[in-house]
Symmetry: C2
C-alpha cells in the first residue's frame, strides 16, 4: 500500500475495538437499527463522535448495492436556467439522503457520451439528463444501466424512459402567434449557429410554424455565435440589425440574454422599442423584468422542472411504491409575459 490513498484511517473496526463490541454492532448503532440496546448505542455513538469516525459509503454501497447517487447532467452551469434547475433538483433529492452526481455536457453529444459512461461507473440509482439528442452508444449505455432514465426540458419523440419538461416548440409557437397578434409582421428570429442539438432548434421550428400558419414569411433568421448566446452576441446583432434584413419590425430571441443585448444596442442607436422594433426573449431571466423597457418573454420555471424530476426519482426509488403506475411523461407549464418591449394590440 504505497499509494497516496490515506483516506480517513478511522475504520468501523477501530470504533468497534474502542467500544468493545463487534463491527456489526457499530454498524447497527449507526443506522439506528433498533435492535441495539439503548446503552451500547449511546456508548458507541459517543465514541464515534469522539473519534470523528466517518463511515466509508463506498464500502457500504458495495455491500448494499445502493450507491445513494442520483446522476444529473446539464449542458452548462453557466446558464441560469440549468443552475436553477440543478439547485431545485438537489434540494429536493437531498431530503431523502441521496446525493447528486453532477456533470455538464457543454452542449456536446460526444462529451455527453463520455460523461454518461464515467457517471455510470458510480452506479447511480437514477439519471436525469437533458434531451438534446444522444449518440447511439449513449442510449445503449443508458438502457443497459437498468435504472430510471429521465429526460429533461424538451419532450423527445422517442423517450428512453421518463420525461419532464415542456415543449419548446409549442412555447415558441405561442409567443410568435402573440407577436403577430400584436401587429408585428416582419419578425426575425435570433438563435445560435449549430443549434441542431439544442432546444434552440425546437424554438426555431415553433417560430417558423407560427409564421407560416399566419401566412407570413419566416425567412428572417439571424444566426450568430455558439450556444449559449450571450448578451454580447445580442448586442452585436442589435448593432447590425439592418445589415441582416432592413425591414425587421420585431426580434424574437432564443433566450433573454441576447434579447437584452439587442435591446441595449437598439437603445444606443436610438431605435424606438417597441414602436419601431419589438423585442422578445425566452426564459424570463431576472434582467428582463428590469430592463428598460422591460422585455416580453416566455416564462418557464426551471426550478419546477428540477422539483418534478426529483420527486419522480424519489417515488421511483421508493420500494414501497408501485413504479409501474407512474406516468411516463410530465408536462411543465409555460406562459407568456407580455411586457413593454412589444407594443400593445392595435
Amino acid at each position: 500500500m504505497s499509494q497516496r490513498g490515506k483516506s480517513n484511517p478511522v475504520t468501523m473496526e477501530d470504533v468497534a475495538r474502542a467500544a468493545g463490541v463487534s463491527r456489526m454492532t457499530v454498524s447497527r448503532a449507526m443506522r439506528a437499527d433498533g435492535s441495539v440496546s439503548q446503552n451500547t448505542r449511546d456508548r458507541i455513538l459517543k465514541i464515534v463522535s469522539k473519534m470523528n469516525y466517518v463511515p466509508d459509503q463506498m464500502a457500504g454501497s458495495l455491500s448494499t448495492k445502493r450507491s445513494g447517487f442520483v446522476a444529473t447532467l446539464v449542458p452548462s452551469l453557466n446558464n441560469v436556467h440549468y443552475a436553477k434547475m440543478v439547485q431545485a433538483l438537489t434540494e429536493t433529492i437531498e431530503t431523502t439522503g441521496l446525493q447528486i452526481l453532477l456533470g455538464h455536457t457543454d452542449y456536446s453529444m460526444a462529451r455527453e457520451e463520455q460523461l454518461v459512461e464515467s457517471t455510470l461507473k458510480r452506479r447511480p440509482e437514477a439519471i436525469a439528463l437533458p434531451f438534446d439528442g444522444h449518440t447511439d452508444r449513449t442510449i445503449n449505455l443508458l438502457k443497459q444501466a437498468q435504472i430510471p432514465v429521465i429526460e429533461l426540458w424538451d419532450t423527445p419523440a422517442k423517450p428512453i424512459g421518463y420525461t419532464v419538461g415542456f415543449s419548446n416548440e409549442h412555447a415558441s409557437f405561442l409567443m410568435t402567434e402573440k407577436l403577430i397578434e400584436l401587429g408585428y409582421k416582419n419578425i426575425a428570429f435570433v438563435c445560435e449557429t449549430n443549434d441542431e442539438w439544442t432546444r434552440g432548434a425546437a424554438r426555431r421550428t415553433g417560430f417558423k410554424n407560427a409564421m407560416e400558419a399566419a401566412g407570413l414569411s419566416a425567412h428572417r433568421m439571424i444566426r450568430f455565435g455558439t450556444p449559449p448566446m450571450s448578451i454580447k452576441d445580442g448586442h452585436h446583432i442589435g448593432q447590425n440589425l439592418d445589415q441582416y434584413y432592413d425591414d425587421i419590425d420585431c426580434v424574437f430571441c432564443v433566450s433573454d440574454s441576447p434579447a437584452f443585448g439587442v435591446l441595449t444596442a437598439l437603445n444606443e442607436k436610438g431605435v424606438k422599442v417597441p414602436s419601431d422594433v419589438g423585442v422578445a426573449g425566452f426564459g424570463n431571466f431576472e434582467v428582463s423584468r428590469y430592463a428598460m423597457p422591460s422585455i416580453t418573454t416566455v416564462k418557464v420555471d426551471p426550478a419546477e422542472v428540477g422539483r418534478v424530476a426529483a420527486e419522480l426519482v424519489i417515488r421511483l426509488l421508493d420500494d414501497k411504491q408501485d413504479q409501474s403506475k407512474e406516468p411516463k411523461k410530465y408536462q411543465i407549464d409555460i406562459s407568456l409575459s407580455i411586457r413593454d418591449s412589444t407594443r400593445l394590440v392595435k
Copy 2:
C-alpha cells in the same frame, strides 16, 4: 441478496468468462496495463463493448483507496460567480479523470457541516470549499480527513490548508477609494442583512475603512434582503433611496445584481446617473457592461479561481510531485472597471 440493487448486472467476472480468461486479465486489459498481449486485449475490449460492460468504480476505489472524487462546495449555484467557478474547476479537474462531487451550502454553516460530513463519506481525494466561516466540527472533520483542503474566494485569517482567492476587503477598499477620487463623498454601501458569514461582510469592512481613511463618514449603510442579493432587491432600494438617507451621491453595491436594480430604479425616477448619483457594483456580471449607463464594477474572474484551485489539486494529487513545496496561498488578481455609471474625475 434479496435487495433491490439492480445496478448493472454485467460484472468483470462475466466478461472474463465470455473471454475465457481470468478477471485479472480483463482488469489489466481495461486499464491498458501493457502487460497483456495485444491479441487478448483486443479480444477482451471487443467483448467489453459488445456486453456494454461498465466497471464498478466503487469496487475499484475500495481496492485502490482512490475514490477519484474531488469535492467542491459552493454557497449556491444560483449565483453566476459560483456557477462559473464550478464550471472552470470541473473542466480542469476532469482532464485528469477525476470527478467533481458538488454540494451547495445555501450560505449556511449548519448545512455546510452536514454537507461536509456526507461528502466525506465518499472519501474525496481533496476538497475545495468557500471560506465563509465554518463550525468547529466542520473544521475537525476536515482536518481529520487527511486530504488537501482548499478554501476559496476570500482569504481566511486561519486557513485550514490551502487558500485560493482574493481579498474582498481589499478589493472593496480600492473601489471605495476610487469613488472618492471621482468626487463622491456621501457614498452609501448596499448589502444584505445577515452577511456576517459571507464575503459581503469583508466588502463592507473594506468600504468602511476606505471611507474613514479619507476622513468621510461610512454610516450610509443600506441593508436589505438575504444573500444573494437580487436585481429586485436593488430595484427596491433604488426606488426608496432617499428614504434611507437623503444626501446620497453614490451607491456602492455588494454585487452587480443589486447595482443593476438600483440603476434601473433611478432611471425610472428620473435621477441622473452618474451626475446626480453614482452607481458601482462588484463582480463584473455581463449585464453591467450593457446596462445604460454601463456600470462601474470590481472585476473578479471566478473562472480563474476555479482554474487555479483545480491546478493546485492536480499537483497535490500527483504522486510524482513534491507537495511540500507548494505555496499555501494563491492570490487571484482583481481590477476596477470604471464605466459610465460613475462620473469622471473632476
